[in-house]
């Protein structure tokens, strides 16, 4: 009997083990990351989360170049010099859905980051009493702004993409979202940016943050940019004026122009991505431009007048890009700056009256000439039609903002106006950077305005059952 008791004990030990400790033993929370339940508790969590969104946003730099610049007429991708087939394809408008540069996952991780912040701010506010209303609004404003800016990139590049305002938290959610129209996207961006204008501060405690994080002026700049696309010219002008009038910003002087991108954070800059070599924050712009992966189109060279100081800052005689070309890899990337705002205002003034209005034209020329004066070139005179001004503004934007991720969108925005009335302008400008047989091929492609937008990547289509390919690529 004694023996039996021993076995009973052993058996019951087994049974005990079965029933009690298993669940606990198998529950392991990760040791190198925070779980959803552990995060979103304090003010510092909110700050860390929003900083993470900026950091994620910054990863899209190469997309900015391809989507916004390479398809334009000023920057070419150098065939056979290491850019790779996918990237070279951008240059000649043979972008297939399988092209890796059409992936927008990195953009949506910014959107997801922003959505997470927007959803969780109220909970943090309730939990952490030291998190003031102003601070909560500020973080909320930054998240709204970053979401708006990202969707703005997507809407301009793909025209139609899924619109999601919910954070991605679990595999039980439905991610098979259909595309929203460009108008729906613009409306959401407009709503977000309007809120952001209210929530965001005029400045932060350090110069790096004031230039590196979203301020209400950055939101006004984004609004102006969007207004130009939506044809809200009056609103665009007042948004620009909201930036111009407080005199917080100014054009850099000629001699200081080199400081714009490096070390950056100048008085001209409204919002720029921060990079710090010492903290391992680098980009590959210099490597790309140095290794001849890109070169500038010949016409970029011709665009500049001889006295223009901007030329030596932008292009070399060997068609290399010089912007961002400093000794280290942490030149800043500028999203909005004062010169851009002046030119946006000029564009809004030009189109304010659909029939054309010389008073407005003159006001627009004044703005353009501010930018020209800084560059050391003669002021413009005698422009009397919308078409003339459009061309002048395009040229000026090319000289001022080349390689800053704006060119292609400038072309498309102006060409799309009034039912693609500027189509021939876009075609002729793009073709002027090609020669021979390439001209024919490219001209065939871009004569269809649907081709101005990128295809949705086949990965995006394959993994989202509700997505339909963009019309040109069906």
């Amino acid at each position: 009997m004694k023996k039996n008791r021993l076995y009973h004990f052993i058996l019951s030990a087994f049974v005990l083990f079965l029933t009690t400790s298993c669940e606990e033993f198998l529950t392991i929370s990760p040791d190198n990351s925070l779980t959803k339940d552990e995060f979103w508790k304090t003010k510092s969590d909110a700050t860390a989360a929003i900083v993470g969104v900026y950091s994620t946003m910054r990863n899209n730099l190469e997309y900015f170049l391809y989507w916004g610049e390479v398809r334009g007429d000023l920057l070419r991708s150098n065939a056979g010099k290491g850019a790779g087939v996918d990237k070279e394809a951008f240059d000649v408008f043979i972008v297939n859905p399988s092209n890796t540069m059409t992936k927008y996952t990195a953009m949506y991780s910014v959107i997801n980051g922003a959505n997470q912040v927007i959803k969780n701010i109220p909970a943090i506010e309730a939990n952490d009493k030291s998190f003031t209303r102003t601070e909560a609004n500020r973080v909320m404003g930054e998240a709204l702004f970053l979401r708006a800016y990202t969707y703005f990139w997507l809407a301009r590049s793909f025209k139609e993409v899924p619109l999601t305002l919910d954070p991605s938290e679990s595999d039980a959610q439905n991610y098979n979202l259909p595309k929203s129209t460009q108008q729906q996207l613009f409306d959401q961006i407009y709503a977000d940016v309007k809120l952001a204008e209210q929530y965001l501060p005029a400045s932060y405690s350090t110069p790096g943050e004031t230039r590196g994080r979203a301020t209400k002026y950055a939101a006004f700049a984004l609004e102006a940019d969007l207004d130009l696309w939506m044809g809200k010219y009056q609103e665009a002008i007042s948004a620009c004026d909201s930036i111009i009038n407080p005199k917080q910003y100014a054009l850099l002087t000629q001699s200081n122009l080199g400081n714009l991108f490096y070390p950056g954070n100048t008085v001209e800059s409204i919002w720029e991505f921060q990079y710090l070599n010492s903290l391992n924050q680098k980009h590959s712009l210099r490597a790309w431009f140095n290794s001849s992966v890109y070169f500038t189109a010949a016409l970029t060279d011709d665009l500049f007048e001889t006295k223009d100081v901007r030329k030596s800052n932008a292009v070399s005689n060997a068609y290399n890009v010089l912007k961002y070309n400093v000794t280290t890899d942490d030149a800043h990337w500028i999203n909005y700056r004062y010169a851009d705002v002046l030119l946006m205002k000029a564009e809004a003034l030009t189109h304010l009256d659909a029939a054309g209005n010389q008073t407005n034209f003159n006001a627009a020329i004044v703005e353009i000439n501010k930018v020209r004066a800084r560059a050391g070139v003669e002021p413009l005179v005698g422009l009397t039609s919308i078409a003339e001004l459009d061309e002048a503004i395009l040229d000026e934007r090319g000289r001022e903002l080349c390689f800053e991720g704006k060119r292609w969108f400038d072309l498309v925005r102006i060409a799309s106006r009034d039912n693609n009335s500027g189509k021939s302008m876009l075609i002729s400008r793009v073709l002027s950077s090609f020669d021979g047989i390439d001209q024919q091929i490219v001209s065939l492609r871009i004569s269809n305005p649907e081709s101005w937008y990128l295809p949705l990547n086949s990965d995006a289509i394959n993994n989202n059952t509700s997505l339909v390919q963009n019309p040109y690529y069906k």
């Binding site: 087939v85 391992n280 280290t328």
Partner: protein, 1067 residues
């Protein structure tokens, strides 16, 4: 003889100290103990035991072998024993003088070995003879293989086991292998079988993703020297693997190492020395042929005579001599290698203890320059019987290995580097200087001088592995058995890489830019596995009924960490390590912890030793899953009928009793190696300016569940003519459901991929293994073995879309691989290659009748690539079949062009012994598999500055040339798209091993004072019969983790030929 006596005395002294003296004085017995040869045995023990097997008195014999003992009663029973001799029980029967002669234990030792082999504990059942299992297993006895020059068990297994596919990752020393049992049962999880050593699973949990130089990693199998192994059991079906928990789902390779026994100390020294040679290489163009080809490629592209830098053309150029050579780069990077493998083992033991100690050292230089492998290993196995009821076992082993590699794949580099370049830089007169020729920029600037890389750069992996386990076995009586095991496995590894400026010639700048100059990388990593197993069995045998029930728990924890440190521009070429740096250009770390629990109950019933039913029910929990799906239930059922034992009327006499029919059915489950995917997590991201940020990592996986395989197996074991002929046939059908794979998710979620359950995969096949003793007489013994198998891995269902594709687009240099419903796993897709357009005017769209299609204006329509505005094909360009007849070659023309899995595979061999000589061979073969020859694609593309094979000599050169090799065309055209042109038959027959050994006759050996002595001359991998045009159809063509990385030849080092001389001596 002298030392033998010394050892005997030493041991005698030890034993005298151990044996207790008796107190009772009732009956005196004395006498002498002698060995079989009549010599007195000093130090033999004579003890009396009571009914409970307790020692009540005992003495040991003196120097002359005499003893005197006081027995408790005249009817007492004495046990006389001596190390290395058979113990004897002697009934006193009132005698006062009892002389005992002890027999040598060696015969019994052999028997013990046989028994030990047949009662494999490794399947978890205790006290169940292996012959009573209904599962599909194959056993390899290593005794025959001692002299074979294998550094790893993978090499031993290749071609020996039906259903086991082994593909070496490369021929470099220390390279790992892809091992798959019964096909690939999973898509996204590792398909390598579980390795079990002496009952304890070995799992390398070191994070593989941070592996530095290759995807091979350091094979964990490699760390057990083959000479330490007694047997290897390959457990194939659900019934066999069930007791190992979910880790056994891919099958189990159970290794039993040699242990000590009740025997005299036996010292064995195994020494192997091999000379290795690389097999043939690709025939490449020489400098002159290359130059002609390049000039032609430029001419065809740019329509003018020109090269990238006009280096070949201008004799006045300062570098002219450096670009006008005939260098045989393949010869420069290959050499013959040497391997030496020495192993010393000492085994022995007494009644209550047994020990086995072994030490080994292997050193090998590879057939590619710059490669080498060294391994030192040690192992101690110790068994101690406290009493007949309690036994402890303790095993400790360690391995220290060092693998030297190159920073890039040298063979692949040598295949493409221009033969016009010299190894050493040349002066203006064409004389070699003492410096390597380096041109980091300009012509072929991306390819480093492979010889300079091998000698100046540094890439090595170090690994230290420590395994230790303690087992306790309690057997209170015949019926109950309790086993408790605790083991700890610790692995510490480090991969280092340094490519100095002197090997690349890149410009050295001190700025902090990732320029690839003096880049030092170091990846330290460690992994720890804690394993605990408790098992309880109850045995009941009554007349015809044998009944065993049991059950237990397995608890396991894995912890692993790794760090990747990179520094650029270290201040000097001699600062090889990033640790000496102040700043890191990149730093990455991983950390993981995972746990699993397995609760098992099992039942076995045998009736009349002929009929049996066995069942296992397992409940597995893994920390990889969330609360709801954490546990999976995995039952299995098996049984057999030993029809050979039936006294059936009309039964042929030559059918042995052991013949049986088996069946098994069962479920097995797999979990991903990751943990905590059931949380939405956030982790640190790069700072933004000076601010620190956090970003979301993934979303919570709430629906993830176990990947489950339903396995069915039917087996037949035939034993004929008194065990002279044995055959085993297995048929199986395994269906995996809820396949787990980290697959892309909707990209608008902001995440790339997540583990998902989807689809169904079927593996079914037939296996046959036969062994037979063909001749057996006094002088001759000839045995033959043969195995063959067929496995089919088929996709039954996938989520929407019905296919998973690796490459979505046709392009030069790429093949499309798809996993598609209804297809075999590992299929290739691509265009159909139809030769070369002889003339420009042939490259127009044609009607089926051969006439040209014209457009509305009467113009012929050119054949284009990709779309109606794409590249126009011309004379000398490749012809691809326009499957959909739309005049455009694009994705719509892609068809299935090959299967990477063999239709049949196996091996056969012969073992013939004549007197003292033994001759043995082993062949292995695969039939009906295709290989995508990526090496040929790259070396016949004529698209860039890369060197090409001599096959391109037959290229198209002018209008009207009829050939099937397209023209040279620099950086343009679509002449090397993945097509059936590069898909080749990979069938082969390999003479894996041939050996001749001489084992000295016992008489002669004994005169020398030795136990045995043998010499073997062997060769491995000596011949290969194949139609495959590449170097080796087997190497580097498989992967356990990537279902797409199959059947591709990417110019890795081929398997070397080994010529080995080995000596085994024991005393």
């Amino acid at each position: 003889m002298k030392y033998r006596i010394q050892i005997k005395i030493a041991i005698a002294v030890l034993f005298t100290m151990c044996v207790q003296l008796s107190y009772a004085q009732t009956f005196i017995v004395k006498g002498q103990v002698k060995d079989a040869k009549g010599l007195p045995l000093p130090g033999a023990t004579v003890i009396e035991r009571d009914a409970n097997n307790r020692t009540i008195s005992g003495v040991s014999t003196d120097v002359n072998g005499n003893y005197q003992l006081r027995a408790s009663k005249p009817t007492a029973v004495l046990i006389v024993s001596f190390i290395g001799c058979k113990s004897q029980e002697v009934k006193v029967n009132s005698r006062n003088l009892i002389n005992v002669t002890l027999q040598d234990n060696e015969h019994s030792l052999k028997e013990v070995e046989v028994v030990a082999k047949s009662t494999v504990v490794s399947n978890g059942f205790l006290n169940v003879d292996k012959r009573n299992l209904a599962a599909a297993t194959t056993t390899i006895k290593m005794k025959e293989l001692e002299a074979i020059p294998a550094a790893s068990i993978e090499e031993v297994l290749d071609g020996r086991v039906s259903g086991l596919m082994v593909s070496m990752n490369s021929g470099d020393p220390g390279a790992g292998a892809m091992i798959q049992l019964r096909g690939s049962g999973s898509l996204g999880l590792n398909t390598k079988p579980l390795i079990v050593v002496d009952g304890i699973p070995w799992t390398s949990n070191i994070p593989a993703e941070s592996d530095l130089t290759s995807s091979e990693g350091i094979s964990n199998l490699l760390n057990i020297p083959p000479s330490d192994i007694a047997t290897i059991d390959i457990l194939k079906d659900a019934a066999a693997t069930a007791v190992y928990g979910s880790e056994g789902a891919n099958g189990v390779i159970a290794i039993t190492t040699k242990r000590g026994d009740n025997m005299r100390p036996s010292v064995t020294l195994t020494s192997k020395f091999s000379y290795t040679r690389a097999p043939g290489q690709l025939p490449l163009l020489n400098g002159t042929q290359y130059k002609t080809m390049i000039l032609e490629a430029y001419q065809n592209r740019y329509l003018m005579e020109k090269t990238p830098d006009d280096l070949f053309l201008e004799p006045d150029n300062i570098n002219y001599e450096n670009y006008n050579n005939n260098t045989d780069w393949l010869k420069a990077v290959t050499r013959s290698g040497l391997q030496s493998d020495n192993n010393l083992s000492i085994r022995g033991g007494g009644n209550s203890t047994a020990y086995s100690v072994s030490l080994g050292y292997l050193s090998e230089t590879g057939t590619t320059i710059g490669t080498a492998f060294q391994r030192a290993s040690g192992r101690l196995a110790f068994d101690y019987k406290v009493s007949t009821k309690l036994k402890f076992t303790s095993d400790v082993s360690f391995t220290n290995s060092l693998k030297k590699e190159n920073t890039s794949a040298l063979i692949a580099d040598a295949n493409i580097i221009a033969p016009v370049k010299p190894i050493y830089a040349q002066d203006r007169f064409g004389n070699n200087t003492y410096n390597y020729f380096l041109n980091p920029t300009g012509f072929q600037g991306g390819i480093n001088n492979p010889v300079a890389t091998a000698y100046l750069a540094n890439a090595q992996s170090k690994s230290d592995l420590m395994n230790s386990s303690v087992q306790m076995q309690l057997r209170p009586n015949e019926k109950w058995n309790i086993l408790s095991v605790l083991s700890l496995q610790y692995e510490n590894a480090e991969s280092d890489k340094f490519l100095p400026q002197s090997a690349t010639g890149k410009e050295y700048t001190r700025t902090n830019i990732a320029s690839g100059v003096n880049t030092a990388t170091s990846i330290p990593k460690y992994g720890l596995t804690l394993y605990q197993k408790n098992w309880l069995t109850y045995n009941l045998t009554k007349k015809d009924h044998t009944f065993t029930i049991g059950g237990g728990t397995i608890v396991k924890e894995n912890r692993a960490r790794s760090l990747t440190l990179v520094t650029d521009n270290t201040a000097s070429e001699f600062i090889l390590s990033p640790y000496s740096s102040y700043t890191f250009s990149s730093m990455k770390s991983t950390s993981s912890i995972s746990r699993s629990v397995s609760l098992t109950s099992q039942m076995l019933y045998i009736f009349k030793d002929k009929y049996s039913v066995q069942a296992i029910y397992r409940r597995d929990g893994s920390s990889a899953f969330g609360g709801k799906n954490r546990f999976g239930n995995f039952p299995s059922l098996s049984g057999f009928w030993r029809f050979g034992a039936e006294k059936l009327t009309g039964k042929a006499k030559w059918i042995d009793n052991e013949s049986k029919i088996r069946f098994s059915w069962g479920l097995t489950g797999r979990a991903p190696a990751v943990s905590a995917s059931n949380y939405a997590t956030y982790s640190s991201t790069t700072n933004y300016g000076e601010l620190a940020g956090v970003k979301p990592d993934n979303f919570e996986l709430t629906t993830l569940r176990w990947e489950t395989t339903e396995q069915r197996n039917l087996g037949l074991d035939l034993s004929l003519f008194k065990n002279r002929f044995n055959a085993t046939v297995e048929a199986y059908d395994n269906i995996t459901n809820d396949l787990l794979w980290a697959r892309p998710v909707a990209t608008n979620s902001g995440f790339e991929s997540a583990y998902q359950n989807f689809g169904e995969l079927q593996n079914r096949g037939i296996e046959l293994e036969m062994t037979g003793v063909v001749v057996k007489n006094k002088k001759w013994r000839v045995a033959a073995n043969f195995n063959i198998y067929k496995n089919q891995s088929k996709i039954l269902s996938l989520p929407s879309g019905n296919e998973i594709s690796k490459q979505n687009d046709i392009n030069n240099g790429a093949i499309i691989q798809k996993i598609r419903v209804g297809d075999e796993l590992g299929a290739f897709y691509g265009l159909r290659y139809k030769g070369v357009f002889a003339r420009d005017e042939d490259a127009f769209v044609k009607n089926p009748d051969g006439s040209f299609v014209t457009d509305l204006t009467g113009q012929k329509i050119p054949i284009r690539f990709n779309n109606e505005t794409g590249y126009i094909f011309q004379g000398g360009d490749a012809i691809y079949e326009d499957i959909n007849k739309d005049g455009v070659i694009n994705m719509q023309d892609v068809v299935k062009i090959g299967d990477s899995r063999p239709k049949l595979a196996g091996g056969f061999g012969l073992n013939a012994t004549y007197k003292e000589f033994t001759f043995s061979t082993l062949f292995s073969f695969r039939y009906g598999n295709q290989i995508f020859n990526a090496t040929r694609m790259k070396t016949t593309s004529m698209y860039n500055d890369n060197n090409q094979t001599t096959a391109v000599m037959s290229r198209w050169r002018k209008q009207g040339d009829e050939t099937d090799m397209p023209r040279a065309l620099y950086g343009a055209g679509f002449n090397w798209i993945g097509s059936d042109r590069y898909v080749e038959d990979g069938s082969f027959l390999r003479l894996s091993i041939v050996s001749l050994s001489y084992k000295m006759a016992n008489k002669t050996v004994n005169k020398l004072g030795l136990k045995s002595l043998s010499f073997t001359l062997s060769g491995s991998n000596l011949f290969l019969w194949t139609k495959y045009s590449g170097v080796d159809p087997e190497v580097g063509t498989g992967s356990n983790t990537d279902p797409f990385a199959v059947g591709q030849d990417n110019s890795v080092t081929p398997r070397a030929r080994y010529y080995t001389f080995s000596t085994v001596v024991s005393f």
